[in-house]
Every structure is written in C-alpha cells, then in structure tokens.
Symmetry: C2
C-alpha cells in the first residue's frame, strides 16, 4: 500500500483560487477542435466567449478536491492535470491524466467525484456549472459532443480496470508507455514519450509502488528496450521490439 502526502506540492487554500484573468479568444483558441467547444458553432461563439474565463495553476496546486461543491467545470487549455481518489488512510489512486482539450469536472450530487491537481504549470478554461447547463440546452450538439467524450472516457476507464486488475507490473508499464505514445505523440516518427508526472504519480496510476516502477524502468533500460536520458523522458530505440515485448508479457 502506498501513502503519498506530497505535502508541499499542495498549495494553501488561499492560493487555490488564484486567478489571472487574461483575454483569451474562443474563436482563435488552439485547443477548441479537441475540446467540448468544438460543438459550438460560429453563431454561438459569442455566447461561449461570454461565460468562460481563464485560470493559471502552479505545479502541484490543487484545482479541486473530491467532494468539493462543484460550481465550475473546466477545459484544460495547457499543461497536464492528475485526477485521483483517496482512501481515508491516504492511499491514493490516480484515475487519469488530462492534457489540453480534455474536459474536467465530473459531478455527482453536485460535488466533484474526484480530486484534481496541476502537475506542471497548468492553464484552464472554466465556466460555471449553471452556464454549462444553459449551453447544453441552447446548443444541442454540445450535449452530443459531451456524451461522445464521456463514452470514450468510459472505454478508457474499462481498459484501465483491465490493467489494474489483471496485468503484471511489467505489462502495466508497457501499456502506460504505449498508451502515452499513441495518444499524445505530436510528430509522427517520434519514438519517444514525455512523462511530466513523478514516479509517485505513475505508481499511483498503475496500482504499484514507486520502487516497483523504478525497478521496472531500470530493467527495461538494461534490456535495451528503452532509453532513459532523464526520469521524465523515455526513448524507444526499436518500437517494434517494444510492441513485441509488450505482447509477450
């Protein structure tokens, strides 16, 4: 079992609502096509613009905690966010990592169903829950879009259950690396993956301890399957070999 306070990473409540309202324009937003907002047509862009604002978060800063009253929902415009659930004794399960375009703010009984923290510097686009609901009734395609997005999220969640319940440490690491490679690889030929999160985050995401994560990375390095120029960057010298090894076990 792992506990992981990450004490100092967690900013005080007072800094939590730190807000530097910049002027962002929805019509030139570069993550719009990936986000929920893609379903807002040209005519309604003004309405969208009117209800969104921006917030910046420092590394480690809490965005919201599980159970907080959910007044706002968010879109990630920049940076990486971790979602997590805690047990009373501090054990943590990271349920997902979000990047630009992802929707944030799952709600049950008008409170957040999980906690969310900035991993590095993060920029969020946010709107009040009430405004989202108004948007949903005014512009039907937005609800369709949101349904599609949560359909994908649900499929990813099931895949993660398979990983957590039935895969070995080695398989978990392989799946994690290959998933990241598939989902966020910008340039096509790039056989490398960035890992902005800490070993603790990875461990809590895969249901392992930091020691096991570290040892597994080292083992893969020693086998020549990956290179580790630094703990936050993985290079695949031979992508096919990795895929073979991943399937073998």
């Amino acid at each position: 079992m792992s506990a992981n306070p990450e004490k100092d990473n967690r900013m005080s409540e007072s800094t939590k609502t730190t807000q530097k309202p910049r002027h962002h324009r929805c019509d030139t937003c570069d993550v719009r096509h990936k986000a929920m907002c893609a379903a807002v047509d040209y005519e309604h862009t003004d309405q969208l613009q009117a209800i969104v604002s921006h917030r910046d978060y420092a590394p480690g800063q809490v965005i919201f905690e599980e159970g907080d009253p959910a007044d706002y929902v968010f879109n990630v415009s920049n940076g990486e966010v971790r979602l997590y659930k805690l047990l009373p004794d501090g054990r943590r399960q990271v349920t997902g990592f979000l990047t630009s375009g992802d929707f944030l703010g799952l709600v049950t009984d008008s409170s957040y169903a999980y906690g969310a923290e900035a991993i590095g510097q993060v920029e969020l686009c946010c709107m009040q829950l009430g405004n989202l609901e108004r948007l949903l009734s005014d512009i039907p395609p937005v609800r369709e879009r949101l349904l599609d997005m949560s359909r994908d999220e649900l499929a990813a969640a099931q895949e993660q259950m398979l990983l957590l319940g039935r895969k070995t440490a080695r398989e978990k690491i392989f799946s994690f690396l290959l998933n990241r490679h598939n989902h966020l690889n910008r340039t096509d030929g790039d056989a490398s993956v960035d890992l902005p999160m800490s070993r603790t985050d990875i461990a809590d995401y895969l249901g392992l301890t930091i020691e096991t994560v570290s040892r597994t990375f080292t083992a893969l390095r020693d086998e020549g399957l990956i290179e580790l120029p630094n703990p936050h960057h993985v290079i695949f010298p031979d992508m096919d070999a990795v895929r073979d090894a991943a399937e073998a076990a």
Copy 2:
C-alpha cells in the same frame, strides 16, 4: 493471473440470436423509470414502442463479444449481466454487473468496447443503434438522460479503479458486499445480499483469484461478520459491525 474459459457456459453462435419476440408494452414496462426510456415522454411512447424488441438469454449465454460490430443497444429488463474484457492469454477482468434498468452497449468505432454475457436467465430490451440515434435527435431529454447515466457509470468506474489499484483482498470483498447492499436492496430492513454470479466472476471483478475470494468469505464467516447459508447468499447479522470492519481495513 486467472484464466477462465467457462467453456460450456458459452453457447454456440447459432443460439446467440435466439429470439422469442413477445409482446411487451413500453407504457406498462416496470423498469422504465430506471432506464434510459424514462426520458421518453407520453407523446413519444409509440415511437419508442415501434423500435424496441425483446430477447431472452440462457444462463452463460454470450450477448456480444468485445469488438463485435455494434448494431444493437440494450436495456436490461430482467436478470443479471456481466461485462468483461479479456487479455490475449485469457485473463479476464469483469468490468461490471448490470441489472434491470441498466443500459448496455457502449460503443467505440462502432464496435462494442467489452463483452457481455448473461449470468442467470436474462431478458433484454433491444433496439438498433440507428434507431437509438434517431431517438436521440428526436427527443432531446433522452440524450440528457443518457449523459447523466454515463456520468454515474464513470464515477462508479473510478471507484472501481481505486478498489483495484489500492485496496486489500479483504477491503475489496467488503466494498463489493456493501456496494451490492446499498445499490440493490429492495426491502429496506433486509441485511442480506444476493450474489447470482460465480466465485470466478467475483474474483475477476475484484482482481483476485477464486481461492482468495473463497478464503476471505470463510474468514469473515469465522469472525461472525457474515453468514453464508449458501455460496450465493450473504447475511449480515450486525450491519454496523460490518461497516466498522470495512472502514478499519
């Protein structure tokens, strides 16, 4: 790691589409208030009725497999269904159990994202995917309802990730029993739980082996926390004691 062919449980492909088209009426359907259909108003009930049909499934029968082309979506009208994902070597993760009112047929790229099998005798209400989509555009509240339902499902999935990644065998069993008790307890004072599924299903749902599930049940029985008149029925002699023990670890 557990493999579990459940060979003979699996009916042949030919029996798979076994269909005994009965006459069911949406306007008197007794699971309607729990299902997606609750969002279809009185005026549209005929339209709903026109596109649904019923199917019966025998215990162990495959409803669909992961990757099958998804032509139909379903509502469970009766019985219990297991959802699962498989690894190439046969290891299985049960991702959920469904009962009456639950929606079935998560789709990605127009194929099913998981497999589904009847646990006992099962009755499903089904409609073609295209008809569902037409329903969604014709009756906006249905999409809203579906979004709400998948919101809840997603929250449950995250809870399950916490269980799989961070809880001990004992805690997993406690959570499983208490969840069942909370979610499907008909009569209010009833301190018991039915477990229609096999030990293998439970093990694959909790990321354990059948032996560990069995041993944990026995341990709880020996401690006087539960009674086991038979493997498919659990009685809690002292509900509060169970809740305390569950929190203690």
